[in-house]
Symmetry: C2
Subunit: 409 residues, 2 copies
C-alpha cells in the first residue's frame, strides 16, 4: 500500500458509511506482512445475524475458504475476521491449524460459537500464516469495537489496492429505514468465478439465511462475476453477506420488499465491483462492455468477459487505439453462438462494424477522441437473440507488469 500510485480512476473520496445496528468494527496492526498499517479486521455481529456466502471456484481454495464453506450451512454469524498480507492458501496442514487456531482464539475471547466465526485471508500464497499474530490482537480488537469504523475496515483489508472501496444504500421497508453497507478489496487476479476479491456486505434487514443466500448469488452474477482484470482466478475469493435484523424490517421471499432490497443490493454490489475493476493493477481506463442479442444472458456475459479478458483488446485500449478488429477476434474465440455476418460493434457509441464488415462511412475521428478518455465503452450486438449483459474490465498497461513482476520482492 502506498507503493503504487493511486489509480487515476479512483473516486475522489470514500463515501461515509452510516452505522448499521448490530455491527461493530475494529482494526489492528498485526504486522502479518506489512509494517505500519492495519492488517486485521474484526467485525462483530449481533445475536441472530444470518449469513450467506459465495466463494472461488478454484480447485485449490485457501484454508479460510474451506472453513467458511464448512460453516455456511448453519447460516448464522457472530464475527468476521479478515487479515491481509497472507492468503493462507496452499499451506496444507499448517493452513488448517492457522484457521483452527484463529477460530479457537476468537471463541475464547468473544464467547461465540465456532460455526458463527467467518474468516478471510488475502495476500501471498504458499507462505505459512502465523495466526498467533492475529490471536495476540484479538482481545484489543474486541475491546475497541465501534459502529463507526467503516473507513478503517475498508483500509485494513487492502493488498495491492491503491484506494479503499466502500458503498452504501438505503431503502425504506414498511416505514423502516434499512441500510446496506459494503466494503471490498481486490485489484489483481480478478476474474469471473470470483478473483482475489473480498467483499463483505452488511445490512440491518431481517432476512432468513436461505433467502439471503439466493439474493447474494443473484447480485453476485451481475457484479463480481461480471468483472475481470486479468482472467486469473484466486484461491481466496470470498463475498459474504450478513443480515443482523436489527432494523426490525423483515424481508420475505417473493414480496415487493424482496424486489426492492434485491435492486438495492444489485446496485451496491455493482458499485463495489466496478471499484475493483477501476483499481485493476495498472489500470488507466475503465472499460464497460455491453453485449446484446446473444443466445442468453449467460452467453452475453461470457462473450463480454472474453472481450474484457483479451490482452490484445486491453493493450489496444491502453494505447488509445480503436482496434475493433481485436474485439471481433475476442467475440470469435468466446465459444458462444456467433454469426460473424450479423455482428455489430460500436465503440464510444459510434457503430464501426455491422453485418460482418466495417461500415462504409466509418469515420475514426470521434472514436479516436473517445479512446483518449478514461471511460471506454464497447457495445456488441450479436444479432441472434435477446440475451444481454454488462461487464467491466480495465486496460492492460506497463503498470500491471510493474506491479506483478515484483510483487513478492
Amino acid at each position: 500500500m502506498g507503493k503504487y500510485a493511486r489509480s487515476p480512476l479512483a473516486p475522489e473520496s470514500l463515501p461515509v458509511l452510516p452505522p448499521i445496528a448490530g455491527v461493530t468494527i475494529a482494526t489492528a496492526q498485526a504486522a502479518i506482512r506489512y509494517a505500519n498499517r492495519t492488517d486485521v479486521l474484526l467485525v462483530s455481529l449481533a445475536q441472530g445475524t444470518t449469513a450467506a456466502g459465495v466463494f472461488t471456484r478454484s480447485k485449490a481454495p485457501s484454508a479460510p475458504v474451506d472453513w467458511c464453506r464448512s460453516i455456511l450451512s448453519a447460516g448464522k454469524a457472530r464475527a468476521l475476521i479478515v487479515n491481509s498480507g497472507n492468503a493462507n492458501a496452499f499451506t496444507g496442514r499448517r493452513g488448517v491449524e492457522a484457521v483452527e487456531g484463529t477460530v479457537a482464539a476468537a471463541t475464547a475471547v468473544m464467547g461465540y460459537e465456532e460455526d458463527s466465526i467467518y474468516l478471510a485471508s488475502t495476500g501471498v500464497i504458499g507462505e505459512p500464516l502465523d495466526y498467533t499474530k492475529i490471536e495476540k490482537v484479538l482481545p484489543l480488537l474486541y475491546a475497541s469495537r465501534s459502529e463507526e469504523r467503516w473507513a478503517e475496515a475498508a483500509a485494513a483489508i487492502m493488498t495491492t489496492d491503491t484506494f479503499p472501496k466502500a458503498a452504501t444504500r438505503e431503502v425504506v421497508i414498511g416505514g423502516k429505514k434499512v441500510t446496506i453497507n459494503g466494503i471490498a478489496k481486490g485489484s489483481g487476479m480478478i476474474a469471473p468465478d470470483m478473483a482475489t476479491m473480498l467483499a463483505f456486505i452488511f445490512t440491518d434487514a431481517e432476512i432468513a439465511a436461505p433467502l439471503l443466500q439466493t439474493m447474494l448469488q443473484q447480485s453476485n452474477a451481475k457484479s463480481f462475476n461480471s468483472i475481470t482484470v486479468d482472467g486469473d482466478t484466486s484461491t481466496s475469493d470470498t463475498a459474504l453477506l450478513f443480515a443482523t435484523g436489527k432494523s426490525g424490517a423483515a424481508i420475505a421471499h417473493a414480496t415487493p420488499e424482496h424486489a426492492l432490497f434485491q435492486t438495492a443490493l444489485d446496485s451496491l454490489m455493482i458499485e463495489l465491483a466496478k471499484l475493483v475493476a477501476m483499481d485493476g493493477e495498472g489500470a488507466q481506463k475503465l472499460i464497460t462492455i455491453t453485449v446484446k442479442g446473444a443466445e442468453s444472458d449467460d452467453a452475453a456475459r461470457r462473450i463480454g468477459l472474453t472481450i474484457g479478458n483479451s490482452p490484445l483488446v486491453k493493450t489496444a485500449i491502453a494505447g488509445e487505439d480503436a482496434n475493433w478488429g481485436r474485439v471481433v477476434a475476442a467475440v470469435g474465440k468466446s465459444g458462444e453462438l456467433v454469426d460473424r455476418d450479423k455482428l455489430t460493434i460500436a465503440m464510444g457509441g459510434v457503430v464501426i462494424a455491422k453485418d460482418g464488415e466495417r461500415v462504409e462511412e466509418y469515420d475514426e475521428a470521434p472514436v479516436a477522441a473517445h479512446m483518449k478518455t478514461r471511460d471506454i465503452h464497447i457495445d456488441v450486438n450479436i444479432g441472434l437473440g435477446t440475451g444481454e449483459a454488462t461487464v467491466w474490465s480495465c486496460d492492460l498497461t506497463h503498470g500491471y507488469i510493474d506491479i506483478n513482476a515484483d510483487y513478492r520482492s
Copy 2:
C-alpha cells in the same frame, strides 16, 4: 518487421532447408501494408500433391480460412498464396471478393483448378484487402519460382515476428530419402485452438489426403495447440501440410513408415511451435511446462495451458520471481480434476511444494538462480492419474505492452 528488437530467444541462424521435389517458391513486394519488404509468397506444388489443414476454432474466421476449409475435402493442392500485412478478416462481402479474385487470378496465371489453390492472410483485421496488389505480382511470382527460396518464404509471411521460423527433418523410408520442411509465423494472439499462427509444411513423401489429415491433426495437438503467448485466438490460424509424392516413398496407414514419419512430423512441428513461443511478443524467457499425473493427456494439456496463459505466472517469470503460489492458483482455476493436497510443484527441477504445502526444507536459492536464465521449467504433478503433456509459453513483459498498445499506429 525491424520495428522491434530481435527476440533474445531467437536461434542464432535460420536452418538451411533443402529443396523438396515438386515444391517451387517465389516471393514479392506487393506493398499490401509494409513497404520495402516482401509480403506475398507463392508456393507452387507438383501435380498429384495431397493437402491437409487445420484451422482456427474462432467463430469469426477470416475469408481465406473459410475458403481453405471449403476446398479441403478435395484433398489436392497446386498452389499456396500467402500475404502478410492484412488478415482479410471481418471484411464481409469484400473479403469474399478478395478471395475469389485472388483465386481467379491464380487460375488464369497458372492454370490450376480453383479447389487446389490454398490462401492465407495475416495482419490487421477489418481492413479491406486490395487483392489486385497480389494479382499484379502473380505473373512475376510464377515466372521466378525456384526450389531454393525457403528462407525468403519464411521472411515474407512475418508480421510482428522478430525472426523467421523454419525447420527441416529427413527420414529414410524404403531406402528413399524423404524430406519434411516447414515454415511458420506468429508472435502474438497465440493460443491453443491455433492462434495468429500460420504454418506451412511440405514433404516429398507420397501420402493419401485422409491419412495426411490424420497425421497433421495428431502432430498439431502436441505442437501448435500446446503453445500460448497471450491466450488470444486469432481469426486466421492455419496450418497446412502438403505431400508431393515426388520422393517415390509411399506411406500407408498403420505401417512402421507411418510411425517413423509421424515422429519426424511431431518433432518438426514442435520445433516450429517452440520458435513461435520464443518469439512471443516481448518474450525474454521461454517457459516449458510439464504436467504429469493428470486424469488424461488432454486434461494435462489444459492444465499446462492454464498455467502458461496466466498473466500472473507470466509476469512473475518476467520479474524472475519464483512465485510458485501463482502456479497453484492457475492449476486451481483450470477446471480440471485436481486435489490440492496431492499437488507437487517444481521449478528448475527443484521441488518446491508437495502434498498441498511448501516442502519443509525448501531452499529458494537454486530456484532463484534458475529464474534468472532464459529457459524456465515448471513441472507439475497432479498425483491423480497418468495423463501428461508439455506446453510452451513465454513471459509477459513491458515489450508485450509496447508492441500491442500501438500495433496499428
